[in-house]
């Protein structure tokens, strides 16, 4: 029983991080119909920017807890600068091309951004460890957990709820949903689709950067951190159904719990458990858990 509870706690903590990153990927796919391979780079840029900002902030004498706002600000900064730049500067030039061309373009972006990150921040690691210890430790079932990890769970919950409310309870959100549903019809009805694209991509970048910014205190920020993230995010998005926010939440939980169960019960299975879950879900629901069957336009 205690083991099961530990698996749930570990799984939920893992899922929270995964959800924040993956939901941005799924949103971008839903609206722009782009499978953004460079999403992991945006996570890395968020982590680097947050690590730099946190380093700068804690070298001063501001209140320690404001460091979290600095991290949030770093993610916002990345979104506002990089989002429109990539969408308007590069991606829009390829919208009329085949979807596979867009995948190749984002792959090229992945390579370019990987090198650009190294060019800006170099290869030496950046740390943002100060915020990690601010909330102290919590004892759950006899095991020590870092309070910050539980903050991440709350952050994922808030992110999910705000995104859902934003999409389902605001006019702008409904316009975004209309574009997801039928881009051409929305345009015919007078929706400024270009604006929706910029907005959705920027929010997607923000979510990737937010994931990176709030993971930065737990890791050594250095070249290569984007790759693992993109692989796991893809798995989550595919399991949940491409373009589904609810799907990303359920899938992140499923992947987090499956990974935790594997590590606790059969560690050698950890390497492939995510793909096993993915294969299982796709065998039963080829469109992912939450993807509605789409009518094909003829």
């Amino acid at each position: 029983m205690e083991l099961a509870a530990t698996i749930v706690i570990d799984g939920v903590i893992d899922a929270s991080w995964l959800f924040i990153v993956a939901v941005g990927l799924t949103l971008v796919f839903g609206v722009l119909n782009i499978l953004n391979i460079a999403h992991g780079n945006l996570y890395a840029i968020g982590a680097y920017t947050a690590a730099s900002a946190v380093g700068w902030y804690y070298s001063g004498s501001g209140p320690p807890l404001l460091g979290y706002i600095v991290m949030l600000g770093a993610a916002l900064l990345v979104a506002v600068v990089v989002g429109p730049l990539l969408e308007r500067g590069i991606l829009r030039l390829f919208y009329r091309r085949d979807e596979i061309v867009l995948v190749l373009v984002t792959y090229a972006l992945f390579l370019i951004l990987e090198d650009a990150t190294t060019l800006i921040w170099g290869v030496n690691p950046y740390y943002a460890y100060e915020p990690y210890g601010l909330l102290g430790n919590v004892n759950l079932l006899g095991l020590t957990y870092v309070g910050y990890d539980l903050l991440l769970v709350a952050l994922a919950g808030i992110t999910g709820v705000l995104l859902w409310l934003g999409l389902n309870r605001t006019i702008t959100g409904k316009i975004v949903l209309a574009v997801i549903h039928d881009r051409e019809m929305s345009r015919a009805m007078g929706v400024n689709v270009t604006r929706v694209f910029v907005l959705a991509f920027t929010v997607g970048v923000f979510l990737a950067a937010l994931g990176g910014a709030f993971t930065a205190p737990k890791i050594s920020v250095q070249p290569g951190i984007s790759i693992t993230v993109i692989l796991l995010s893809f798995a989550v998005v595919v399991i949940g159904g491409l373009g589904s926010v609810e799907g990303a939440a359920i899938a992140a939980l499923l992947v987090g719990l499956a990974r935790a169960a594997a590590i606790h019960l059969m560690p050698s299975a950890e390497l492939f458990i995510v793909y096993l879950v993915m294969a299982g879900v796709l065998a039963l629901r080829p469109e992912g858990i939450f993807q509605r069957m789409a009518l094909r336009k003829i």
Binding site: L143, P223, I263
Partner: protein, 436 residues
């Protein structure tokens, strides 16, 4: 332009081209073109590739100047030949590396290549160099399989293979009489992690039969998040936690595990971790048992050569000091220098051919900052070297992690003899080991 004039112009260009080619050929006889392959991008760049190349650049410049290094390395270049280094990024996978290696030998006409951090890359490029009959010096990768499962004529490795690290760890624990019961392990799920843990476990079985492995965790390379693994280890409560993680993965593990108490009240063994001491600083707890894959960095014993290397590196890269990747690079470069000069002494001072170089490298012995290196295994193609293990202690005044309680092991104590594979040697209880 008349026909005559245009022909004259053509002849002039041809003559100039011929002169340039002749000039190049002449320059080739006075220089040694060296391909250096290491990670300049990707996950291994920060911890291994870039520091190694920093060391390489510095040492090559010093060698080319001549008279900078202590004797016997005071002659300029390699036996008077100017070293021209071409650096190649190791990132991109084994298939790409084989192609890059062929390009370097065939298109760029390098005389030798020194390189490769990844064991997979070493295993892939060695047969290619052998097929091309070109000199390849592996300077870093750890897998024992290269010379235990293959025979090469043109391939050499100037650093000891990975089994040494784990035999030394187990010997340290036995020598210091540390009381070990249950052991937990967290290693990356690929050749390096699997081999390291297997060798450590087997060595412990020989030296401390009471030690039993109760938890073995296998996160994948680059995972970065170890929350669940840490929970599992905390639940198992082993008296020793072993890890061969390195670079960013190891730094993330330390950052996540220390606040949760995994490093408290138990021994923690990090088999190849001296390179994370500088970036982690005071975030690395005291008392952690550390290896450096050789008597590298703080483990290196004082000598004029080591003193020069450490001082020169600190001057060239202020705020840092050299650790294992930097040591392995200079070790390889001084090995090649010794081989070139040995071959030149035998052939009357001409630039040696690849055959002459391969003959000189076979069974070579030379001094490196980490100690005396002997090409004793793999029919004279695989090096053995002394090793050391110690424990961490934060020095607040010097603002650095110092290594204390150090035990040194001579090469023959922690490396198998020439006629035996490492795994067999360990399982038979280290026959022929000389530890005094």
């Amino acid at each position: 332009m008349s026909y005559r004039k245009s022909m004259l112009g053509f002849a002039a260009i041809a003559a100039a081209a011929a002169a340039m080619t002749a000039g190049e050929a002449a320059a080739d006889e006075n220089s040694f073109k060296l391909g250096v392959v290491t990670f300049l991008s990707g996950q291994a760049a920060e911890s291994f590739g870039v520091p190694a190349w920093n060391s390489g650049k510095m040492v090559i410049d010093a060698l080319n100047k001549g008279g900078v290094l202590p004797k016997p390395y005071d002659k300029p270049g390699f036996g008077g030949l100017k070293i021209e280094a071409v650096v190649i990024d190791e990132n991109g996978g084994a298939t790409k590396q084989v192609q890059e290696l062929r390009n370097a030998y065939e298109r760029d006409q390098v005389d030798a290549i020194v390189g490769y951090v990844g064991s997979g890359d070493c295993l892939a490029v060695s047969p290619a160099a052998e097929e091309l009959k070109k000199l390849l010096i592996l300077y870093d990768c750890g897998t024992p399989r290269i010379f235990e499962e293959n025979k090469f004529h043109y391939v050499f490795r100037t650093a000891a293979h990975g089994a040494m690290d784990n035999v030394a760890m187990a010997r340290y624990i036995a020598k210091r009489k540390l009381n070990i019961g249950d052991m937990g392990a967290i290693n990356q799920d690929y050749a390096w992690g699997q081999d390291s843990w297997k060798d450590f476990k087997a060595s412990m079985a020989q030296l401390d039969p009471d030690a039993k492995a109760t938890a073995e965790l296998w996160p994948k390379f680059g995972a970065g998040q170890y929350g669940t693994e840490i929970s599992t280890l905390l639940q198992e409560k082993p008296s020793l936690v072993y890890s061969s993680l390195w670079g960013g993965d190891l730094q993330a593990l330390v950052l996540q595990a220390v606040p949760r108490g995994l490093f408290k009240d138990r021994y923690v063994v990090l088999s190849a971790s001296d390179h994370v001491l500088q970036p982690l600083g005071d975030k690395m707890p005291d008392g952690v048992i550390i290896g450096a894959r050789g008597a590298n960095g703080q483990f290196a014993e004082r000598s004029p050569l080591n003193d020069w290397f450490v001082d020169a590196y600190k001057k060239a890269y202020p705020g840092t000091y050299p650790v294992q990747p930097q040591y392995r690079m200079i070790q390889a470069l001084l090995g090649i220098k010794t081989a070139v000069e040995t071959a030149m002494a035998a052939n009357g001072g001409k630039k040696p051919s690849t055959e002459e170089l391969a003959a000189a490298m076979t069974g070579l012995e030379w001094d490196a900052p980490s100690g005396h290196i002997k090409m004793a295994l793999g029919d004279g193609h695989q090096a053995i070297q002394p090793n050391a293990v110690g424990r961490t202690q934060w020095d607040a005044q010097a603002k650095m992690v110092k290594l204390v309680d150090i035990e040194h092991f001579i090469a023959e104590c922690v490396n198998p003899p020439a006629n035996m594979k490492a795994e067999e040697w360990i399982s038979k209880g280290f026959p022929g080991a000389q530890c005094e």
